[in-house]
């Protein structure tokens, strides 16, 4: 391991000089691309504000939550997984807060976890039992990382057995 202890001769930069062996070296050199002197390329569009000709509005026939930092729903939007159930209620509440507020993001993460449980319940309602082993891709763990797979499985089994034992003792009392 390289340690933090240094002496003056440790500090050097071996840049080398000949890069001819690297195909394409320097072909995109652009001395003007120096962002330490930032010059933003402005366009006339920029000073006109939110005034551009928008595309036709996509039909809004599902619930679309939109940021309070904008006045409208964008001309197009995704229609995947509209809000639902308890997680949807939390999402609606979260979207009342601005994008700079933790009050928006933390509830959204909570909603995601609740959504996960709702997803399992939905599966069961539809008569589908989720295969967690398959969904977690654990066949590849067995194939490529068998030792870790065995250790983890044994640990989970031991913890589960201990919990069952503990609970059964308590219920006997």
């Amino acid at each position: 391991m390289t340690t933090d202890e240094t002496s003056p001769e440790d500090f050097k930069n071996n840049r080398g000089g000949d890069h001819s062996h690297i195909k394409g070296w320097g072909i995109d050199i652009d001395p003007k691309n120096d962002p330490t002197y930032p010059l933003k390329k402005r366009t006339d569009e920029e000073i006109k504000g939110y005034s551009w000709e928008r595309s036709e509005q996509q039909a809004i026939d599902i619930e679309v939550l939109h940021s309070v930092e904008r006045p409208n729903i964008t001309a197009v939007f995704g229609t995947a997984a509209p809000p639902r159930g308890l997680s949807g209620m939390i999402r609606r509440h979260a979207f009342k807060k601005s994008e700079s507020s933790l009050g928006r993001w933390v509830p959204l993460i909570l909603a995601d976890r609740i959504d996960m449980v709702e997803g399992v319940l939905d599966d069961l309602k539809q008569g589908y039992i989720p295969n967690f082993f398959e969904e977690r891709g654990l066949k590849s763990e067995w194939k490529y990382n068998r030792k870790n797979f065995i250790v983890k499985t044994a640990t989970v089994a031991a913890v589960a057995s201990a919990a069952v034992l503990l609970l059964s003792r308590k219920s006997k009392k």
């Binding site: 933090d4 197009v76 939007f77 995704g78 959204l108």
Partner: protein, 385 residues
């Protein structure tokens, strides 16, 4: 149709019973997917780190395919065209698209004003289904999708939809000048491409830092750069100073983002407890390793929640920070030219070709870095390996 169905953190299903996408807007197209990739940033979704990632969403923002249907207003594409689809969804009309900031379009994501629209990347980027599917809806089809040149290998084409332009833009944003010393944190697919691209801008020295030896070995060969494993360094920042006359690197690139290893407190705060928008260890190292007046370029993805960075050092050192989602559409012509001329060889980073039906295994292999995985590509059943 068959598509990825996200069920919660670390749970992905290849679902055969999902509905086919439909034209929902006159500027839409429906694309039959021929290749899609799992991106390192997909792992942030998979690990449950991105807020508003809803169960039932199909992931996937790197894909190519064949146009099978177009909306009534689409003029530039026709059925049968084989296209690469940039991961950014962009209208082409807003003030930001007009400036070629296609990653910052203001008309593609109602859920957030900060983030643009991205395929299959949670409702924080617009709530679109993604391309890890047999078919996908592509909005603003006249703007982003680009016809794949006949000579181009589909495996190269799919990598031009994100990885290659993102790595290239990381180097471009670094404002690299001839002879500069460039340090890239992260030897994943983006870091590999950033290191390769740094030479094109005339870097004098390119150093890559990571903890996975197999990736370091790969990038050393692929990008002809110097590599160091930070687990063998007591302090990577001191090490970089030693390597750079004590002054620091001219340019540092954060190609890691939210799931950086290397600092237990940061990992606990950002990856386990989600108290900040990811682990910021790579960004810390970048800020502290760059020289005074230097440039830090960020392409690693972080969550929207606040994240701790040494902002005092940014001020004291006069650092310029540049960051953005890659503007794929802007860069595609140049990337195509570089592939044609043999300057870039994207498909060489593909290590795994996985049938879409086995996507859950693909995510686990990539997430756990099994089998020396660098870049997995998913192949839908009808596309043929």
């Amino acid at each position: 149709m068959l598509a990825v169905n996200y069920r919660g953190p670390f749970r992905i299903r290849a679902d055969k019973n999902l509905p086919y996408p439909e034209i929902e807007h006159p500027e839409d197209a429906i694309v039959k997917v021929l290749r899609s990739c799992i991106c390192g940033s997909d792992l942030h979704l998979y690990h449950g780190l991105v807020p508003d990632t809803r169960v039932g969403t199909t992931f996937g923002h790197e894909f190519i395919g064949e146009v099978v249907e177009t909306g009534s207003s689409v003029e530039n594409l026709k059925v049968g065209d084989k296209v690469m689809v940039p991961f950014n969804i962009a209208c082409g009309k807003c003030a930001f698209c007009k400036q070629e900031l296609y990653g910052n379009c203001h008309e593609a994501n109602p859920q957030s004003t900060a983030a643009g629209g991205i395929f299959g990347y949670s409702h924080t980027t617009g709530g679109y289904h993604g391309g890890q599917a047999e078919y996908v809806r592509v909005p603003y089809a006249d703007v982003g999708p680009t016809v794949i040149p006949e000579w181009m290998d589909p495996d190269d084409a799919v990598l031009l939809t994100d990885v290659v332009p993102t790595g290239y833009q990381a180097a471009e944003m670094g404002g690299i000048q001839e002879g500069d010393t460039v340090v890239v944190f992260g030897a994943g697919p983006i870091g590999i491409m950033a290191a390769k691209s740094a030479w094109l801008f005339g870097a004098g020295r390119v150093i890559v830092i990571d903890k996975l030896d197999y990736r370091l070995e790969f990038v050393k060969e692929y990008a002809q750069c110097e590599v160091f494993n930070f687990q063998e360094l007591e302090d990577p920042v001191v090490f970089i100073k030693q390597q750079t006359d004590s002054l620091g690197a001219d340019v540092c690139i954060d190609a890691v983002g939210a799931e950086a290893a290397g600092n237990k407190v940061n990992s606990l705060m950002g990856r386990k407890l989600l108290l900040q928008g990811g682990s910021t260890t790579a960004l810390h190292w970048a800020i502290n390793s760059v020289k005074k007046g230097g440039i830090v370029s960020i392409v690693g993805v972080y969550g929207p929640v606040d994240a701790l960075v040494p902002i005092g050092n940014v001020l004291n050192k006069g650092i310029t920070i540049r960051a953005n989602q890659a503007s794929v559409k802007r860069l595609l012509p140049k990337m195509i030219e570089h592939v044609k001329n043999g300057v870039l060889d994207p498909k060489a980073i593909i290590t795994h070709r996985i049938p879409l039906e086995e996507v859950a295994e693909g995510y686990h292999i990539f997430s756990s870095k099994l089998d020396n995985c660098i870049k997995p590509v998913l192949i839908p059943p009808a596309a043929g390996i």
